[in-house]
């Protein structure tokens, strides 16, 4: 099920044109790419943030759809939840309650206490399978890879039932090839952002990356394969902006306009936005058992986030390393409103940055916020202090 092209709009466009249509797609609450896929007879698997082994779904010929909230009012979803919750869980449910997006399977993860509840909430509202993929929360156990391999096999069986077809190891290897290419292209995009940030602003890189959660990965590979050379040849001048790392976008996503506001005074040279798409840092091995390699890569060749506790990855040290590796001068440490892991980590991050003498700017955001003036003025003041210090 890959014959349909879900996102043809970028073809034949300039770099600016490609970025513009990616932005439009991200802000389109009718989810046209998912609709086109379904109209062609395809099935869709929604998976909540942060990381999901999309290869297993892709290998079954279904579309993995990254559930990460959306630009919608939670009119129906509000009545399903309590008051003190992040926006992303509400708008994610709203997408399906309002039938903007229709699914055949929904999977969430124990990334936080709100997200883990989603399988139950979703399952009470829809007849299709809704479940939790129990990614290991003790990555330091020597048995974690074996356990996760078993958990992925369980997921494979669910996916096979939903797809109505088997998912062979060869199917998985073909998918791994496509996803390895995608991860390599995203690494290239981030290298560009880091090395020549004036050629691709934070919001532009984000738009090019984030559409990957809405379209088949083959299409995303084609898009990035076209965009990267065009970005490199853009005729743009370097400006006197501060190089920063943006931290806090691992789950709920800030609005594009917020990223654009930041880009007006900063070069965002690295970030954790949609980190799940870039969670695995290297190519997954193609030899032998693909589920084992996928499980191994999740645990042993991966990034970090506030929702994974790994003794080998103290998060404040990982952030300092990210700042150093990107050659950043400062950090923007954000958290989504009501995001417990993000808000807790913010305390540690700021204490660690202070101790290391790294300037930082702290804020909270919400995916559907519409006013950025105050934040932009505060950020400009922060930047001016750095530039003229």
């Amino acid at each position: 099920m890959t014959a349909v092209t879900t996102f043809p709009e970028w073809q034949g466009q300039s770099a600016d044109g490609m970025i513009a249509v990616c932005r439009e797609l991200l802000e389109d609450d009718t989810y046209p790419t998912v609709r086109r896929w379904r109209e062609a007879g395809g099935k869709v698997v929604g998976h909540f943030q942060v990381y999901f082994p999309e290869e297993i779904v892709h290998g079954a010929g279904m579309l993995p759809f990254k559930v990460r909230g959306g630009p919608v009012e939670p009119a129906q979803a509000d009545s399903r939840f309590g008051s003190y919750l992040c926006s992303i869980v509400k708008t994610s449910l709203e997408l399906v309650l309002s039938r903007r997006v229709e699914l055949e399977l929904f999977v969430t993860h124990p990334i936080c206490d709100a997200a883990r509840n989603l399988a139950a909430v979703w399952g009470r509202n829809f007849p299709y399978p809704c479940q939790i993929l129990y990614l290991p929360q003790n990555p330091n156990s020597a048995h974690a890879v074996a356990y996760l391999r078993g958990e992925y096999d369980r997921l494979r069986r669910t996916v096979e039932t939903v797809a109505g077809r088997a998912v062979s190891d060869d199917d998985l290897r073909r998918s791994l090839t496509i996803y390895n290419t995608n991860r390599a292209l995203l690494r290239e995009l981030y290298a560009l952002k880091r090395d020549v940030p004036w050629l691709v602003a934070a919001d532009e890189a984000y738009a090019l990356m984030a559409v990957g959660g809405l379209i088949p990965r083959e299409e995303h590979n084609s898009l990035l394969g076209r965009a990267l050379p065009l970005l490199r040849t853009r005729d743009l001048r370097r400006h006197d902006r501060v190089r920063v790392v943006f931290e806090g976008g691992f789950c709920e996503q800030p609005p594009l306009d917020l990223l654009r506001a930041i880009a007006r005074s900063c070069y965002v040279v690295d970030d954790d936005l949609m980190i799940g798409l870039r969670w695995i840092l290297e190519d997954v091995s193609m030899d032998g058992d693909p589920l084992h390699h996928l499980a191994h890569a999740y645990l042993e060749r991966s990034s970090y986030s506030p929702v994974q506790h790994d003794l080998r990855k103290p998060k404040e040290e990982m952030l300092l390393h990210r700042i150093q590796a990107a050659g950043a001068q400062a950090a923007i440490v954000t958290a989504a409103k009501m995001c417990e892991p993000g808000l807790e980590e913010q305390v540690t991050y700021t204490h660690a940055l202070e101790a290391a003498g790294v300037p930082f700017f702290v804020s909270e955001f919400e995916e559907n916020m519409t006013s950025f003036e105050t934040l932009e003025i505060q950020l400009e003041t922060f930047v001016e202090n750095l530039l003229f210090d």
Binding site: N138, N140, H143, A146, G150, P341
Partner: protein, 432 residues
């Protein structure tokens, strides 16, 4: 049948629970003053039966934090943690503990020792983030015992199923990896016979805990799940795997059976039997319960007594012939059930309604706890679609008095009871 035909045993459980609690805190204070390191654990999957065999004083930070609210000083602790950088929007238990640590362990009930190790499950994700604070503060080992829960409603697997065996092998491996760390930190060699002994006490407690909950099917109910139940719960956690805990629950069952046999209830006129779903409102703990009891309502059951006991309600019995394997299995099944009582509770509540003969449901989601509260509104909607039963839904908090409005709660509760009375009157007219 009761072995003691004497009303003096009535109230013994509450009195002994309070005494045990005082003794426990006196022991912790003595350990703190002696500079001993302790094991920090949480209520859902504490592994106290294992940790006791290494002679650790056991500290339950959740219980410490809720005590600050019951004793009406939580706001001082919350403010201190917020001054340290923690958001008003995170778990109040965490913040009260941060302030406790910043105060050198000082609490209204005594002083707690510093951690030498923290061992916790993933039953609540905040446990993991919480332990990271101690990891950074004290540079001590923090060990997550990852317990895979139910994947979707009604899909629990059991021994022999390959998916269950995958989970069990993972849990068992983690326990085996934990033991050398416990030996190193405590300086005590692992003794499997001591573990057997502690697991034997836990077996008694598990069996009796299940019996205690079932005994509240009596009319009138023999304990209030919110007030009396919280005392029992404190003992169930603090003395898990200890002989005092096993004895307490054996005697508690004796008391409650006596009350049941003699028709002794918690209220002189029990008019409405209610289920409580959520976490208690500790900042006005006594008053909160009174707002129901004054109108003839008593809580005959709660999800709290199930999930906050780590699934002890199942009455799981460890196989002492293969202690470690059985500990892994019991931990997996118990903690999974605790999580089911928070996430996949619809069928559980329907069963409780039937078993306990409840007349209504009180949902109490709280700002502090997304684990318990996120899905309650939807859970209520699903339950009301399945059963015609009155329910009350009111939000406040377990710690933060800034979001607890007693007057608003009282208005809602009064209206709920008016509805209960009206419903009963209409049923009488219909001759139901």
């Amino acid at each position: 049948m009761p072995t003691t035909a004497d009303d003096t045993i009535v109230g013994r459980g509450n009195a002994d629970g309070a005494r045990l609690f005082r003794e426990w805190f006196a022991g912790l204070t003595a350990a703190a003053e002696a500079g001993r390191g302790s094991a920090y654990v949480f209520v859902m999957g504490s592994l106290a039966e294992l940790l006791r065999t290494f002679d650790f004083p056991i500290v339950f930070p959740e219980i410490n934090s809720l005590q600050t609210a019951v004793r009406r000083v939580a706001h001082e602790y919350l403010n201190e943690a917020e001054d340290h950088g923690y958001s008003p929007d995170i778990c109040g238990y965490v913040k009260a503990d941060v302030a406790t640590q910043l105060r050198g362990g000082e609490l209204p009930m005594g002083r707690i020792p510093k951690p030498a190790i923290a061992v916790y499950t993933n039953a609540c994700n905040t446990y993991i983030k919480w332990a990271e604070i101690w990891e950074r503060m004290y540079k001590v080992p923090v060990v997550t015992i990852d317990i895979p829960g139910t994947r979707a409603a009604g899909t629990q697997t059991w021994p022999g199923n390959p998916d269950f065996e995958n989970d069990r092998a993972y849990v068992l491996a983690q326990l085996r990896e934990l033991i050398p760390t416990l030996e190193r930190v405590s300086g005590v060699r692992f003794d499997i016979d001591r573990l057997r002994e502690a697991m034997g006490h836990a077996n008694t407690m598990n069996t009796m805990w299940g019996r205690v909950l079932a005994l509240n099917a009596a009319r009138p109910s023999v304990f209030n799940a919110l007030s009396d139940g919280t005392i029992y719960l404190g003992v169930a956690n603090g003395f898990r795997g200890a002989p005092e805990g096993a004895r307490y629950f054996t005697e508690l069952v004796e008391e409650l059976e006596y009350k049941s046999a003699h028709g002794i209830g918690t209220l002189t006129d029990e008019r409405y039997r209610l289920l409580f779903i959520g976490v208690p409102c500790y900042p006005i703990f006594r008053r909160f319960t009174e707002m129901f009891t004054e109108l003839g309502g008593t809580f005959v059951g709660s999800t709290y007594l199930r999930f906050a006991s780590g699934g002890a309600n199942l009455g799981f019995t460890y196989d002492l012939a293969r202690p470690l394997e059985s500990l892994a299995e019991g931990l997996l099944i118990g903690v999974r059930d605790a999580m089911d009582n928070m996430f996949f509770q619809t069928d559980i509540l329907i069963q409780m309604l039937d078993d306990l003969g409840a007349d209504g449901l009180v949902y109490h989601p709280i700002k502090s706890c997304r684990t318990v509260s996120t899905g309650l509104a939807d859970s209520r909607r699903a339950l009301l679609a399945a059963r015609d039963v009155p329910s009350l839904f009111m939000e406040s908090d377990m710690m933060d008095r800034r979001v607890v409005s007693e007057a608003q709660l009282k208005n809602r509760i009064d209206a709920f009871f008016e509805g209960l009375a009206s419903r009963r009157a209409q049923a009488a007219i219909r001759g139901d």
